[in-house]
C-alpha cells in the first residue's frame, strides 16, 4: 500500500482543479447517458480527451490519451470532477462496455476502427442481448444468424434495447451454431442500426419516456468479419462485456456525485429556516451512506490496482453491481426524502431540454430500480457471488414445468 502523492500527482491535482475552474461553464449537466450527446456534450468530451481526463490510458493509436496506467491519477481525476459536481464525460454502453471489450478481445482492426469514434461520443452503441424469452437466462437467446455468401443473415427479436432508437451500432448476441449446445452456439456481432431489415419500436418505461425498445430483425445482412472473436465464442465475449457493464452499473464515482448533490441540498435552509444537515436523524442517514460510498471508492481503487497488475479480482468484482446499484437506490431514496412534497413534482422534458431537479431525482429513483434489474438482476448477481465467488454449489435443477407450482 503506497498512496503517497508524487510531485507529479500533486501537479496533476492542481492542473485538474484549474481546468475545472476555467472550463466549468462549458460542461453539460452530469448524467445524460440516456440521450444522444448534444453539441455541448461532444465539445466537452473532446476537451476532456485532449487533456487526458477521459480515456486516459487508452492508446493514442485508438484515439485515447495514451498515458501509462496509474490508479492514483485516475482517482485524482474522478475525485476532482465529482467534488465539483462537473460532468466527467460521457458514459454510455459503447464507451463503458464495448470499448473495454474490444481492448480485451478485439482485433487490431476492430480497435482502430471503433474505439476512436466511440469514445468521442460520435458513434452510439446499443446492446442486443435480452429477448422476450431470455433475460436472466441470457444464453437461451434464440435470435438466429445463418451464414450465406459471406454474410450473417439475422432473424429474430431483441427486447429492452436501451438507446436503440438513436444508436448507430449494435453489439448483438445471437445464435449462429444451432447444432451446438446452448452456450457454445452463440456469436457476438457488430452491426449498423441502419442495416435494412432492422425495425426499432419504442417501449415506454415507468418514467413515462421511451428509453428502451423492441428491436426486430428480418433478414438483416452483416459481413461475416463483423464478429468479435470467432463463431461460437459469443458467450465468452458477452461475459467480457457484462463484466464491464457491471462495473459501470456499480461505478462509485457516480455514487460520489449523488452523495455530494444530496449533501448540497441538505445544506440549504428549508421552509422553516433550518438545514436538514443540522438534524441528527438526517445527518446520520447521509453519514451512513457516505461511509458506504467511501468503502465503495476504496474498493474500486483496489480493483483498479488488481486489474493493472493483471490479477482477476473474482469475488471482489462480483459484488460490485449488486452493491453499487442498491447503494445508488438508497442515495436516490434519501434525495427524494430530502425534497419532501416539492420533490414530487414531475415534468420530464423529453430528449431535448434539461429536467428540473425534482424530476431528475424522480427519474433517477425509478431508473435505479431498472438498473438493479438490468445487466443481470440482483438475484443473478447473488447467484454469481455465491457460486463463483464463494464456491457454493449450484441450485438444484428441479424440474418444475411452466405454469404450475
Amino acid at each position: 500500500m503506497d498512496l503517497t502523492l508524487t510531485p507529479k500527482h500533486r501537479a496533476l491535482r492542481e492542473e485538474v482543479d484549474a481546468f475545472i475552474a476555467a472550463h466549468r461553464d462549458a460542461a453539460p449537466r452530469p448524467g445524460g447517458g440516456r440521450k444522444r450527446p448534444d453539441r455541448k456534450a461532444l465539445d466537452w468530451q473532446a476537451l476532456l480527451l485532449k487533456h487526458g481526463y477521459f480515456a486516459r490510458t487508452i492508446p493514442r493509436e485508438y484515439g485515447g490519451f495514451g498515458a501509462p496506467h496509474d490508479v492514483i491519477e485516475l482517482a485524482i481525476i474522478a475525485d476532482a470532477f465529482s467534488r465539483a459536481g462537473i460532468s466527467p464525460g460521457i458514459h454510455n454502453q459503447g464507451i463503458s462496455m464495448l470499448v473495454p471489450t474490444l481492448l480485451e478481445v478485439g482485433t487490431e482492426e476492430q480497435k482502430r476502427r471503433w474505439i476512436g469514434p466511440t469514445i468521442r461520443g460520435e458513434t452510439i452503441w446499443c446492446q442486443g442481448y435480452s429477448e422476450p424469452g431470455s433475460g436472466s437466462d441470457l444464453a437461451a437467446a434464440q435470435t438466429r444468424a445463418a451464414v450465406e455468401d459471406g454474410h450473417f443473415v439475422i432473424n429474430g427479436q431483441k427486447i429492452w434495447t436501451s438507446s436503440a432508437h438513436f444508436a448507430d451500432m449494435m453489439f448483438l448476441l445471437c445464435r449462429t451454431e444451432p447444432d451446438k449446445s446452448k452456450h457454445a452456439g452463440l456469436s457476438y456481432l457488430l452491426l449498423p442500426m441502419s442495416a435494412p431489415g432492422i425495425e426499432v419500436r419504442p417501449l415506454r418505461t415507468m418514467t413515462g419516456r421511451a428509453e428502451f425498445n423492441e428491436t426486430f430483425f428480418t433478414d438483416v445482412r452483416v459481413p461475416v468479419d463483423q464478429i468479435v472473436m470467432g463463431r461460437g465464442d459469443g458467450w465468452h465475449v458477452a461475459n467480457v462485456t457484462l463484466k464491464y457493464e457491471r462495473m459501470l452499473l456499480g461505478d462509485p464515482n457516480k455514487l460520489q456525485q449523488r452523495l455530494e448533490a444530496t449533501r448540497r441540498m441538505m445544506e440549504q435552509p428549508g421552509a422553516d429556516g433550518a438545514r436538514l444537515l443540522d438534524r441528527a436523524e438526517w445527518r446520520d442517514r447521509l453519514l451512513r451512506l457516505q461511509g458506504e460510498v467511501i468503502a465503495a471508492r476504496n474498493h474500486n481503487m483496489r480493483l483498479l490496482t488488481e486489474t493493472a497488475e493483471g490479477v482477476d479480482s473474482g469475488l471482489g468484482r462480483f459484488i460490485v453491481k449488486y452493491h453499487g446499484t442498491m447503494l445508488a437506490h438508497r442515495l436516490a431514496s434519501l434525495a427524494l426524502d430530502v425534497m419532501g412534497s416539492t420533490g414530487l413534482l414531475y415534468e420530464p422534458q423529453g430528449e431535448v431540454a434539461e429536467d428540473d431537479p425534482a424530476t431528475t431525482w424522480q427519474i433517477d429513483y425509478m431508473y435505479d430500480i431498472g438498473l438493479i434489474i438490468g445487466g443481470g438482476s440482483s438475484n443473478i448477481q447473488k447467484n454469481i457471488i455465491g457460486e463463483r465467488g464463494l464456491g457454493l454449489p449450484r441450485e438444484p435443477k428441479a424440474a418444475v414445468p411452466a405454469g404450475r407450482n
Binding site: 424469452g133 436472466s136 419532501g340 412534497s341 416539492t342 414530487l344 425509478m366 430500480i369 424440474a399
Partner: protein, 365 residues
Amino acid sequence: MRFGLTEDQGLFGRSLRGFLADRLPLDALRRLAETGTGFDAELWRGLGELGLHGLLVPEEHGGAGLGMLDAALAAEALGYHAAPAPFAAALVMAVQAFRSAGDAEQQRQWLPRIAAGQARIGLGFAGLAGQTGRAALRLEGGRLSGALDGLMDGGEATHFLAYLADGRAALIEAGAPGVTATLRRSVDRTRALVDLDLAGAAPVALLQSSNDPLAAARRVRDAGRVMLAADTLGAAQNMLDRAVAYANERVQFGRVIGSFQGVKYMCADMATMLEPCRAMVWYAAYAQDAVPEEAAMVASHAKAHLAEVGREVARLATEVHGGMGFTDLLGLHHQFKRITFDRQALGGPERCRHDAAVAQGWVAA
C-alpha cells in the same frame, strides 16, 4: 373484544374494489392518468353512488356517519387500484376539519355539500405536517394573502382549505378574485398537487371554533396520515399480488421463476413486511375515533412505517417482474408512484416519527 372487520366492512371493501376493478382496467387508468389532475368526473360520480363522498359526514348532514376505519378501507381500495380520485384531503381531512373546528352553522352549510359531491376541497397543510415548499399566509382584515404549496386533492377542486400557521383554516373558492391555483402534476399522475398564490382573497369560511386550533389541526393531519398509510397498504398489496402471479407464470432456465428460492424469498419478505401493516392501519384508523390518547402517535407511526415498507415492496415487486416491471406495459408503476406520493406528502417518515415522539411526550414539539 375483537380485532377485525365487521361483515359490513368486509362487504364494503370488496364492493368498492369490485367497482374500481371494473372501472379502471389498465387502458382506462392509463388514459385518466395522462392528464395528471387526479380527477375524473365519471369516476367521481360512481364513487359518490357507492357512498364515498359522505362516508364520514354525520347522518344529520346527509352522510353515512361512518368512521375512520371505514375510510381507511376505502383509501386502501383506492390505493390498490391507483384510482385518480380525490379522497384523503377532500373527503376525509376536510370533513374532520369542519367537525373539529367549524361552528354549527359552518357544518350545517358545508358538510351536506361535501356529502353530495358538490364541494371538492383541496387542502393545504404546509409546515404543520412537515411539507416542504412555501407556507407563508397572512390573514389581514379578513383577507388572505401569501403562498401555500402542495395542496392535496387540488386538481379540479371547487374550494381550497388553507391552514394558517396558528392552526386556523380558511376556506376559499377556487375561482375567487385574488386566488391563483397552479396545478403541479406529480410523479403519481393519479394525484396532483396545487400551489396557491393568494392576493387578498376573501375566505368563504374561517374555521376557528376550536379552543385549541393547533390540536384540532393536528387531528386533521393525523386523519390524513392514516389515509395515506392505508393508500400505501393497498398499493403495496397490489404490487405483491401481481409479483406473486408473475412469479407463477414467467419461465427462465426452464422453470417458473417462483420456483427459485431467490424469487420465493423476495415474495415471502414482502408478505412478511406487509401483513402486519394491515392490522396496524386498522388500529391507527380505529384509534382516531376511539382511542384519543394514542391517536396521534399511531397515526404518525402508521404513516412512517407504511412508507418504509411501501418503498421496499415497491422495489422488490418491480424486481420480481424483471425488465417487464420497469415498463409501462403492465402498469405496475402506477402503484409504485402511489407509494412514492404517500411517502412524500404530509411529512416523510423522519418527520412523522418526530411527531410520534412529540405525541408521547418524549420531546417538545
